[in-house]
């Protein structure tokens, strides 16, 4: 056993971890899309749900099983994606979260999983729009 040490988390990580924004899951609806990536076995699992109006996301929620960096990144991302278009989602890259939250190199694999979740959300949104058309 080892002492539960305090990792060098950035103030933003600590803030989002202690006070997560937009945690939870939106109820299924015609204007709600969902995406999930990762697994508990891999150490990080992200679920995003979002409500869109016309061409923009108006409400984004997250659920995350993972380290404090994962929780903070997902929490931060929900704010970042509010107002985004499907194209914004398709273009979003993990590096932005890594830079903003000062995520160490060994944790960046988890952010790639978060990026996968965002891409999946963009696909789900586009499929939904196509089906509507």
């Amino acid at each position: 056993m080892v002492a539960a040490s305090l990792l060098p988390y950035s103030p933003m990580v600590i803030d989002h971890f202690d006070h997560p924004r937009n945690s939870g899951r939106l109820a299924p609806a015609n204007d709600v899309v969902e995406a999930e990536a990762g697994s508990i076995a891999q150490g990080a699992l992200f679920h995003l749900s979002a409500r869109f109006e016309r061409d923009a996301l108006v409400d984004v929620r997250f659920e995350t099983y993972g380290c404090p960096h994962c929780v903070a990144a997902a929490s931060w991302l929900t704010q970042r994606l509010t107002g985004a278009t499907a194209d914004d989602l398709a273009r979003w890259e993990w590096r932005e979260a890594a830079d903003m939250l000062e995520v160490p190199a060994e944790k960046r694999g988890h952010l790639l999983t978060l990026e996968d979740t965002v891409r999946e959300l963009a696909s789900a949104w586009r499929s939904r729009m196509q089906n509507r058309d």
């Binding site: 080892v2 002492a3 539960a4 076995a41 699992l45 995350t64 929780v71 060994e106 944790k107």
Partner: protein
Amino acid sequence: MTPESQIYLDYAATTPIDPRVAEVMIDCLRVDGAHGNPSSSGHQFGRRARGLVEKARVQVAAAIGAKPQCIVWTSGATESDNLAILGVARFNADRGRHIVSSKIEHKAVVDPLKQLEREGFSVTWLKPDASGAISIEQVRDALRADTQLVSLMHVNNETGVIQDIGAIGKLCRERAVLFHSDAAQSIGKVAVDVESMSVDLLSVTAHKAYGPKGIGALYVRRTPPIGLRPILFGGGQEAGIRSGTLPTHQIVGMGAAFEIAVAEMPADVARLREQRDRLWSGIEKIGGAELNGGEQDRIANLLNVTFHGIEGESLQFALRKLAVSAGSACSSASEEASYVLRALGRSDQLAQSSLRFSLGRFTTESDIDIAIDELQRELPRLRQVARS
């Protein structure tokens, strides 16, 4: 006890020095204290230090039911384990090169045994059952004609599970196999008696029993004598078994700590059991928590708990007000799960989502209240965030 506003619940890692112990140590450290070399019998300074060392030897021996001449001072349990295992195995190598131990031993036992494997010895690593116990049948089945040593710990440092050392010791004696036990976690928590436990070698340390770090002892049975090759060479102190100038103040501290630990054990254990049970009740109320190690046969001050549905690092960080130990060997992305919990059948992920709470002499009721409050606030919050 709340240094830096954290609640210290990591007594199994180490304990603070009891003020009564610190006092006798400080007395030694004064200019007019006991600075003489205990080996310098030609003057009063040396003789005074020797007198204190021998008094402490009696105290430590009494705590484990041993004769004082069987106590060898070391730098701690790690050195005691190394000396016992490497010393016995190498001395007796021509009589057999097989050793029996377990997968839940402390690294201070595991690593010398791995060194012996590199030297051509063969080690049988027994796997405990889900409750953390090694059965006497497992030991019996593992013994071979060339087995020269069995090394099994008394109290597991991660789970607090107590092994039936007496029964295993009896078996070893019947089979004329030497028996070593690491009892680093035992003193003051459970009775230790080298005679009734039939151990030939026993490792103890001061800093788990409110004594100083950097001092320990190895009990070595003297009748019949045990062949032991030293691992340190030099001035020939401790009958040539362990060279090195004796640290009088450390030894005096260990003696006092052991004397207090044994004298106060009944009261300490009763109080700690009550506090531990109250903490466990608080955890159980939250739900999704599972105890590691059997319900029975555990020391009174320790809880090792797996928290389902919460990632290990987030668990530790959310509970950062509590100074506890984690079930992972490292808090980085490359976490290595506790090999002890893995041996009990926990997955890597569950082992990493485990915490060890260990209470001690200075744990207050208020500490337990705060710990329960933290757990009851943070665990549901983390589970809600993770609800996938």
